[in-house]
C-alpha cells in the first residue's frame, strides 16, 4: 500500500540572532502515521513545529499539505488547515469548564446570537467519546488531572477537524497508567486517519508508538527511519553521537560519615514517620508515584514545613529547619522539580542566578565585591561546562540542560554538605542528562551527600547507591547496598501492592 503524503516541509531554515536554529530541514509525514520527532534540546524540534503551527515564519523553505503548497502566516490559518498542536504546557483556562474550553472563541450560537449551550454540551460529549474518555463536560478544568486536561485538548483538536495533530512531550507529567491510556487514544486516532507527530525525550515510548522517526541534531535533519530499522542504541547514537551503554556513571565504592539522619519525621496529613539517612559520598534515590510525598519530604528538609515533628540531624547535630534560610545555613541545597518556576529567575542573568543564594557572602562592606562574584561565576561556568555566550545572558535563553547546571551552580556556591535533587533530568535531552549524572556522581565522590528524587525508574536504579521507596507519605521499603533491584520490585512497593496482601 502506497501511503499518501500528509505533510512535507522542504528545506526549512530559520535564523535567530547569532544562531541558526534550523538549517535546510526537510520533514515528511505520511497520512495516518505516528511520526516521532526526536533530538536533543536545542536540536530545533520546537522551532520546526512552531513554524508548522504558524507561530513562527521560516526564513527559507516551503510547506506542502497533501501536495499543495501553503503559507501558514498565523496559528488561526494552521487550525483552518487542520493542524493542531498540543504543547507541553497545556493551554486551557482553568476557571472555565470543559465545554467552554473546547469551544473557546468558536461558541455555537442559536437565534439572537445567544449561546446554545445544549448543542455545545452534546457535541463536547461526542468529541470526548471519540477520544474515549468519560469526563463530564461541565467540569471545571481546574479540577481535572493533567492527563484529563490533555484529553480535553485532544478533544478540542478534534473539534477543529485536526488532520495533523502534533504532541509536544505529551507524557512528561503523566503516570504509567495515564501513558497507557494516551497510547490507546493515539492508536485510536490513527485508525481514524489522523496523522500524529509525536515529540518525546522518552525513547522507549517512541519505539512503542511510532511508525517512523525523524532525528534532528543541531538544527539539521539527520534522517528519517522506519521504526523497524532502529534499536535504542542506534537511535541514541543518531541523536547524540554517543553510545547508550555509558549512560550511568559507576557507583560509589565507599562512603564517608553520616551527613543527614532523619528520625520519625512527620508533617500532619503529608508525611508519616519518615526515617532515613544519607552518608557522605553516596547518592540515595527516592522513588514514589505522584502523591507519595517524595517532593514534600524534600520541602520539609528545606524548611518549607516549619511545624514538622521528629528529628533532623545534620552532621551529628540536631537542627531545626524552620525556613529555607535556616536550611541553607545548615548546609542543605535543593534543586527543585520545576526548574523554570521554582529553580531559576528566568529573566535574570546567568551570573545573577549563580550568586543568588550567596548574595550576602559576596559583600565587602555594604556593596557586592564584583571580582569575587565574577570569579565565582567563572569557576562554575567552567567547572560545569555551562554553555552561555557570556555571564550576562538571560537564563531563559539557555537550553534545559544548561539551565539545570545554573541551578546546580547556585547550590554549589553555598558549599553544601547535603544536596537534594528533585527530578534532576526532567525535560533535559540525552546528552545533557549524562553530564548531569556525571556531575552528581562527581559531587558525591567529593564527599557530598546526595538525595535524588526521580520518577524515572531506570534513572533511580542506574544512579542510586541505595533506594527508598515511598508510598502515601511514608517510606515503605529500602533497597540497601548491593541489594538486587529491578523496576518491577520497586514499582510493586511504590504502588502499595505490599499492603493489600
Amino acid at each position: 500500500m502506497k501511503q499518501e503524503e500528509a505533510l512535507r516541509m522542504v528545506n526549512i531554515s530559520k535564523y535567530f540572532p547569532g544562531v541558526k536554529a534550523l538549517d535546510r530541514v526537510t520533514f515528511t509525514v505520511n497520512q495516518g502515521e505516528v511520526h516521532a520527532l526526536v533530538g536533543e534540546n536545542g536540536a530545533g524540534k520546537s522551532t520546526l513545529m512552531k513554524i508548522l503551527a504558524g507561530a513562527l515564519q521560516p526564513d527559507e523553505g516551503e510547506i506542502y499539505l497533501e501536495g499543495e503548497k501553503v503559507f501558514i502566516p498565523t496559528p488561526q490559518s494552521a487550525w483552518e488547515r487542520g493542524i493542531s498542536i498540543i504543547y507541553q504546557e497545556l493551554n486551557l483556562l482553568p476557571d472555565l469548564n470543559v465545554v467552554q474550553n473546547i469551544f473557546l472563541g468558536r461558541e455555537h450560537r442559536g437565534r439572537l446570537r445567544v449561546l446554545s449551550y445544549s448543542t455545545m454540551i452534546r457535541e463536547a460529549e461526542s468529541l470526548l467519546a471519540r477520544v474515549g474518555v468519560g469526563i463530564a463536560p461541565q467540569t471545571m478544568v481546574r479540577n481535572l488531572s493533567v492527563a484529563q486536561q490533555q484529553q480535553v485538548e485532544i478533544a478540542k483538536a478534534l473539534s477543529l477537524n485536526a488532520k495533523i495533530l502534533v504532541m509536544d512531550e505529551p507524557t512528561a507529567s503523566l503516570s504509567e497508567t495515564e501513558v497507557e491510556k494516551l497510547f490507546g487514544i493515539i492508536r485510536d486516532l490513527k485508525s481514524k486517519g489522523v496523522t500524529i507527530v509525536y515529540i518525546s525525550h522518552r525513547l522507549e515510548e517512541v519505539f512503542r508508538i511510532a511508525d517512523r522517526v525523524t532525528v534532528l541534531k543541531d538544527g539539521k535533519c539527520i534522517g528519517t527511519y522506519s521504526i523497524g530499522e532502529l534499536d535504542r542504541d542506534k537511535l541514541v547514537k543518531l541523536m547524540v553521537g554517543r553510545s547508550f551503554s555509558e549512560t550511568f556513571p559507576e557507583k560509589a565504592k565507599e562512603t564517608g560519615p553520616m551527613v543527614v539522619e532523619v528520625r520519625n519525621l512527620s508533617v500532619p496529613r503529608i508525611l508519616k514517620n519518615v526515617n532515613f539517612s544519607v552518608r557522605a559520598g553516596e547518592i540515595v534515590g527516592f522513588f514514589g508515584l505522584v502523591g507519595s510525598g517524595r517532593t514534600d519530604l524534600a520541602k520539609a528538609l528545606f524548611g518549607f514545613y516549619p511545624h514538622y515533628s521528629g528529628e533532623i540531624v545534620v552532621k551529628g547535630k540536631t537542627v531545626k529547619l524552620h525556613s529555607p534560610q535556616r536550611a541553607i545555613a545548615e548546609g542543605v541545597g535543593f534543586a527543585p522539580e520545576d526548574r523554570k518556576s521554582e529553580g531559576l529567575c528566568l529573566g535574570l542573568s546567568v551570573k545573577d542566578n549563580c550568586v543568588m543564594a550567596v548574595l550576602d557572602e559576596m559583600r565587602s562592606t555594604f556593596f557586592l565585591n564584583r571580582r569575587r562574584e565574577t570569579g565565582l561565576v567563572q569557576k562554575f561556568v567552567a567547572d560545569l561546562r555551562i554553555k552561555t555566550p557570556h555571564f550576562y545572558q538571560r537564563v531563559q535563553n539557555l537550553s534545559g540542560g544548561n539551565q539545570q547546571k545554573v541551578v546546580l551552580a547556585k547550590w554549589l556556591a553555598t558549599r553544601p554538605d547535603f544536596l537534594i535533587f528533585d527530578e534532576p533530568t526532567r525535560g533535559i535531552d540525552v546528552g545533557a542528562k549524562q553530564e548531569i549524572y556525571h556531575l552528581m556522581r562527581q559531587l558525591a565522590s567529593q564527599g557530598k551527600a546526595i538525595l535524588m528524587i526521580s520518577s524515572e525508574l531506570p534513572e533511580v536504579i542506574g544512579m542510586s547507591d541505595r533506594i527508598y521507596v515511598m508510598h502515601d507519605g511514608a517510606i515503605v521499603r529500602e533497597f540497601g547496598w548491593g541489594e538486587r533491584v529491578d523496576e518491577e520490585r520497586i514499582m510493586y512497593f511504590a504502588a502499595g501492592l505490599h499492603v493489600e496482601r
Binding site: F302, G347, L348, M362, T414
Partner: protein, 300 residues
C-alpha cells in the same frame, strides 16, 4: 529621545530655553522624581504603590501644621514625617505580604485611610505655614540648579548603586522576577517586599516635604495624581510592570520626559487639560515601544 524633546520644545516655544523656565521644569520634576524613585523599587519587586500621593499630601499637611513656620522645627518634623511615611509603607507591606493581598487594592485602600486621617486632623482646612528652610528645599537653588533636583538626582544615584551593587538590590530584582525561585534560593521574600513598601512610603513622605517647600503651605491635595504620574514615569523609563527588570536611570529620564512634556503643552498655550492627553499618549507610546523591544529580545 530626551534630546529630541529638547529640540521640539525649543521649536514650540523659545521660552523653553530661558534659564528661568529650565529652572522651573527641574523644580517641578523633583517632587515627582523623589516619589518615582520609591515607586521604581516597588515595581521592580513586582508590586505597585497607589498610596504615594496620599502619603505626600499627608506629609505636606503635617509639615505645615507642626512646623508652623519655625525653622527650629524643620529637622524634627521632617524626621517625624518620614517616620509617618515609613509606617504607612510598612502597613502596605504588612497587608500585602501577610495576607498575600494584591498590592493594587491594598494601596488603593490605605490611600483612602491616610487621606481620611489627614482630613480628620485638619478638619478639611489645613493650617500652619512652611518655614524658610523647607522653602529653600522646594524653591531655592544653587545658580541654575534647584536644590530639590540635586536631592532627587542624589537619591536616584544612591538607590541605583544599591540596586546594582548591593545584595539587597539584587534580591529586589530576584523577588520581582520570580518570587518562588527567590524563596527557594533562601531569600526572605516577605522582608524584601515589606522593605520596598516602607522605602516607598519614606520617599513619598519626603516628596511631600519637597512639594510643601515648593507650594509654601499645607495642601490637602498636594501631589494629587502623582501616584499615576510616578507609575507613568517608571514605565516610560523602561521598568517592567511585571517586575525584575529596569532601573533608576530610566526612571530619571521618564520623570524629566513627563515634566518637560507638560511644560511644552503649557508653553504652547494649550489648556491644562491637554497635559493629560499628552501624558497618556507618551505612556501608550512607551508601552508599544517596549513591547517591540521585548519581542525582538525574546526571538533569540
Amino acid at each position: 529621545m530626551l534630546v529630541a524633546l529638547f529640540v521640539v520644545a525649543g521649536i514650540v516655544s523659545p521660552i523653553f530655553y530661558r534659564p528661568q523656565n529650565i529652572f522651573n521644569v527641574l523644580q517641578q520634576a523633583s517632587a515627582l522624581g523623589v516619589v518615582s524613585v520609591g515607586q521604581t523599587l516597588v515595581i521592580l519587586s513586582g508590586g505597585i504603590d497607589l498610596s504615594i500621593a496620599s502619603i505626600m499630601a499627608t506629609s505636606c499637611v503635617f509639615a505645615a501644621a507642626l512646623m508652623a513656620g519655625k525653622n527650629s522645627m524643620v529637622i524634627p518634623i521632617t524626621l517625624f514625617c518620614l517616620a509617618i511615611g515609613a509606617l504607612a509603607g510598612f502597613l502596605n507591606g504588612i497587608i500585602t505580604t501577610r495576607r498575600n493581598a494584591p498590592p493594587f487594592i491594598v494601596t488603593l485602600g490605605t490611600a483612602l485611610i491616610f487621606q481620611g486621617i489627614r482630613f480628620v486632623y485638619t478638619k478639611g482646612a489645613p493650617f500652619g505655614s512652611i518655614p524658610s528652610w523647607l522653602r529653600f528645599l522646594g524653591r531655592g537653588g544653587i545658580g541654575f540648579v534647584p536644590a530639590s533636583v540635586i536631592i532627587f538626582l542624589f537619591l536616584a544615584l544612591v538607590m541605583e548603586a544599591i540596586l546594582q551593587r548591593s545584595a539587597y538590590g539584587r534580591k529586589i530584582y530576584a523577588v520581582g522576577d520570580n518570587k518562588v525561585a527567590a524563596l527557594y534560593s533562601g531569600i526572605n521574600v516577605p522582608n524584601i517586599i515589606l522593605s520596598v513598601y516602607a522605602l516607598s512610603g519614606i520617599f513619598a513622605a519626603f516628596g511631600g516635604l519637597v512639594l510643601a517647600g515648593y507650594l509654601g503651605f499645607g495642601d490637602n491635595w498636594a501631589g494629587k495624581g502623582y501616584e499615576l504620574d510616578a507609575i507613568a514615569a517608571v514605565v516610560v523609563g523602561g521598568t517592567s510592570l511585571a517586575g525584575g527588570e529596569g532601573g533608576m536611570g530610566g526612571t530619571v529620564v521618564g520623570v524629566l520626559l513627563i515634566t518637560i512634556l507638560s511644560n511644552i503643552v503649557l508653553l504652547a498655550g494649550l489648556p491644562y487639560q491637554f497635559q493629560q492627553i499628552v501624558k497618556g499618549l507618551v505612556v501608550a507610546a512607551a508601552v508599544i515601544f517596549y513591547s517591540f523591544v521585548k519581542v525582538s529580545g525574546e526571538r533569540r
